[in-house]
């Protein structure tokens, strides 16, 4: 297998890349030169300035095409691969029914001031997303969707009341890293309120999370952009049932 690749324009290895950006300069020769200098520093060499347009008084928008000299080293790429099998709704229900012998309890919310329920609704609401039904559709899951602007204490109280096996938190607003602060606050509150073996599985999702940050944020799993309800359901089964023994061992250690 190839271990090094370059961007592909129309020929293997040509490294062709397109970028656009704005510089706080009025549009003139110097501004165009400045744009090309930036492109060169980004690794685009040679670069072609294909479009420049002044916006308002002191800003110019540029589109630059060029060959990037950087190489992508595939053996050094780090990602979170799906480490659990993807199940159908029917399979999820069967496993929960046979192994758990009760409904799997899920509590979801948007915490903090975030009012964007679109993510949590896509995962939880019956309607689901992209033709895939949400977790409410799964017969063996008991879902409580608390909606938007839920405080952390409210979420912890609801998780206790519902004997939640898993807590799903959605965060869309990222201004001033609100999503990271809120998530840390949430995981700390759960740690404080419940002993490790009683603590529900903590899952956050949102378009701007780095899926590698689970330890730093104190959660069990992070789901990024494009996650479907089925992936979340499959993960719940994996983490709470199929892989439970391992999780217990990890907690003890």
């Amino acid at each position: 297998m190839k271990t090094v690749v370059r961007p592909y324009g129309d020929t293997t290895g040509d490294g062709m890349t397109q970028v656009s950006f704005t510089l706080p300069l009025p549009h003139d020769k110097k501004a165009e030169g400045a744009a090309l200098q930036l492109a060169a520093k980004m690794g685009l060499e040679p670069a072609m300035l294909v479009h420049a347009k002044q916006m308002g008084d002191g800003f110019t928008f540029f589109v630059v095409y060029g060959s990037v000299r950087h190489l992508v080293e595939l053996d050094k790429v780090q990602v979170v691969e799906r480490d659990f099998p993807l199940l159908t709704a029917k399979e999820v229900n069967t496993v929960v029914k046979q192994k758990m012998r009760r409904k799997l309890s899920v509590v979801g919310a948007c915490i903090g001031t975030d009012a964007h329920t679109v993510g949590i609704d896509a995962i939880l609401n019956l309607k689901g997303i992209a033709g895939e039904k949400g977790l409410e559709y799964y017969r063996e899951l008991k879902v409580v969707n608390m909606g938007a602007q839920i405080t952390v204490p409210e979420l912890v109280a609801a998780a206790k009341a519902e004997k939640a096996d898993a807590v799903l938190v959605s965060q869309v607003v990222t201004q001033r890293d609100a999503h990271l602060h809120n998530t840390r606050e949430m995981s700390a509150a759960f740690r404080e309120a419940l002993p490790a073996d009683k603590r529900p599985l903590l899952i956050v999702g949102g378009p701007r999370f780095d899926e590698l940050m689970t330890d730093e944020l104190g959660v069990d799993r992070i789901f990024g952009r494009g996650t479907t309800p089925r992936e979340v359901a499959s993960y719940l089964v994996h983490a709470l049932i199929t892989n439970k023994a391992e999780r217990k061992k990890a907690v003890a250690a």
Binding site: G56, F61, T113, V118, Q175
Partner: protein, 528 residues
């Protein structure tokens, strides 16, 4: 614009309106027999109470809370407050009202309900003081009319509506002015996330908000003054929009009137469905805020676009029509004229669906034909904006084209970076180029665009209207409050005995008095 391009049966349209009125009537009766903490605070704001305590809690909140503790809200605050002024030898002026609020907060005033002659005195004093606030709203309306005469309205329809949202009013101002220069006719300052659930209106100029800027009286004043400069510079009146929604809807409407804002987002059901605010609280607050908007000459924008972001835009198309009809009924009842009804709808059909563009055209034209004199607010795609900015720009172009083809009144400019980042300078510029190209190339295409009789578009529009009538019939049988409780709109279930802000609602007792409502329900000419 009423051309009947869709061949709608006038009897059916009439029936839809009659059903909406029937469904809305009990809600109006309920709104007329209840008050809320925010309605009462709005009365005090009209009477001139301003400022906040050292913790930032406005004096209107402190005063209403003190009255509520002593005598409850069922009689309104005007009588006990103006009675207390007289009892304490204070003059019925804005300054002394604020002083009374401070004393009440310190616990040195106890409120009682007046009786006998004192009732008449308190009514008279409160009415005179509240009338002064309403007079200011009238003056602002006259000023707006003058400025529109001097500078003119935008040359084209739809008006181009752009959003700024930095969180810092002093950053918003240059951005808003730049947007106006770049072609925006209407500037909306998005509110900080979470303001809708604050049960008070923050005070002063604010520099910290999340994904938006707090709606405060001072922020309103600063931005309106800046856009007055822009209007002068550009030779067209640039309108300012904010949000009369959430728990402080009546107060924010009042502040908008006092600071000459031009449009306000003000939906009849949005807070209930999307913010889980108690339905009764919402309908009571909404009626008062709409009476203020009517008086202030403010155009309201309703929020039907939101239904389509949670429900499927094809399956739920008729819920938009139903909500528009209800919003129209509630608006007319509160005194708003057709030109003030920015009824909302949106381009949210899945673009992968075959014929999605024709469906969008059918839905948008249906709204146009049903509400020929309303400046409809056309909202861009958000749900199917995926982060593929190139495809997003194309989708926005088609959205703009529907706007041109169906004669929309207000076009919210769609951003290709929707769902990616809060718009960059360049995103806004590209989006405006998109709008300008479509309006320039096809702005008058609505003159030629007549859907084929009994063709796809006509049939779809008829179907949506039929479904809307079916739903209105069900709502009428079940009552609107139950329909909301059952999750009829936007899939959310919102029972009338739940939701935020319910504890701030009170039923009118005998002798309830609200000088603002009394004035607002008198035709403007009689009020001197």
């Amino acid at each position: 614009m009423s051309s009947n391009k869709l061949g709608l049966d006038p009897a059916l349209v009439h029936r839809a309106r009659a059903l909406a009125a029937k469904a809305g009537r009990p809600v109006v009766d309920m709104a007329r027999s209840h008050t809320t903490v925010s309605v009462e605070r709005a009365v005090l704001r009209l009477a001139g109470v301003t400022g906040a305590d050292p913790d930032g809690i406005p004096w209107v909140n402190r005063l209403v809370d003190a009255v509520r503790n002593d005598v409850g809200l069922g009689h309104g605050v005007a009588l006990p407050v103006f009675h207390a002024l007289a009892e304490h030898g204070l003059e019925p002026t804005a300054a002394e009202l604020t002083l009374l609020a401070q004393k009440a907060a310190a616990g040195s005033v106890r409120f009682d309900l007046p009786s006998g002659k004192a009732v008449t005195a308190a009514k008279k004093a409160s009415r005179r003081q509240v009338a002064a606030g309403i007079k200011q709203i009238d003056r602002n309306r006259a000023d707006r009319d003058k400025m529109i005469k001097r500078y003119g309205d935008p040359k084209q329809r739809p008006w181009i509506y752009l959003i700024v949202a930095t969180g810092d009013i002093y950053e918003d101002i240059p951005q808003a002015q730049a947007a106006a220069r770049a072609g925006a006719d209407v500037i909306a300052v998005i509110r900080s996330t979470g303001q809708s659930l604050l049960d008070y209106v923050p005070e002063g100029a604010t520099r910290e908000g999340f994904a938006g800027t707090y709606a405060t009286q001072e922020n309103f004043r600063l931005m309106r003054a800046a856009l007055d400069e822009s209007s002068k510079e550009l030779g067209r009146y640039v309108r300012l929009t904010n949000y009369a929604s959430g728990l402080c809807m009546p107060e924010i409407a009042t502040l908008a009137g006092l600071q000459r804002l031009d449009m306000m987002l003000n939906d009849s059901m949005y807070g209930i469905l999307f913010r889980d605010i108690n339905p009764i609280r919402t309908f009571v607050d909404q009626r008062f805020s709409r009476q203020i908007h009517a008086r202030a000459g403010i155009i309201i924008n309703t929020g039907e676009d939101n239904y389509l972001t949670t429900a499927d835009a094809v399956e739920a198309a008729h819920t938009v029509t139903v909500s528009q009809l209800l919003n129209e009924y509630f608006a007319h009842e509160a005194g708003l004229a057709d030109w003030q009804l920015g009824l909302g709808h949106a381009f949210e059909i899945n673009p992968d669906l075959p014929e999605s563009f024709r469906l969008e055209l059918a839905h948008a034209l249906l709204a146009r034909e049903l509400f020929p004199d309303a400046p409809l607010k056309w909202m861009p795609p958000t749900k199917h904006m995926t982060g593929d900015v190139f495809r997003g720009n194309l989708l926005d172009g088609f959205f703009n084209l529907v706007g041109a083809l169906t004669g929309q009144g207000i076009l919210l400019v769609g951003m290709m970076t929707e769902a990616v980042v809060t718009p960059w300078l360049s995103d806004r510029d590209i989006a405006l180029q998109n709008v300008r190209y479509v309006l320039g190339a096809a702005g008058n295409l609505h003159e030629d665009f007549v859907p084929a009789p009994d063709g796809f578009i006509q049939r779809r529009a008829h179907q949506v209207l039929d479904e809307a009538i079916d739903l209105l019939e069900k709502i009428e049988d079940d009552t609107l409050l139950n329909a909301i409780a059952d999750g009829t709109f936007g899939i959310m279930k919102r029972p009338a005995d739940r939701g935020k802000g319910l504890d701030g609602v009170a039923k009118h007792d005998d002798g309830y008095y609200n000088p603002a409502t009394e004035i607002l329900e008198t035709p403007a000419k009689e009020e001197q």
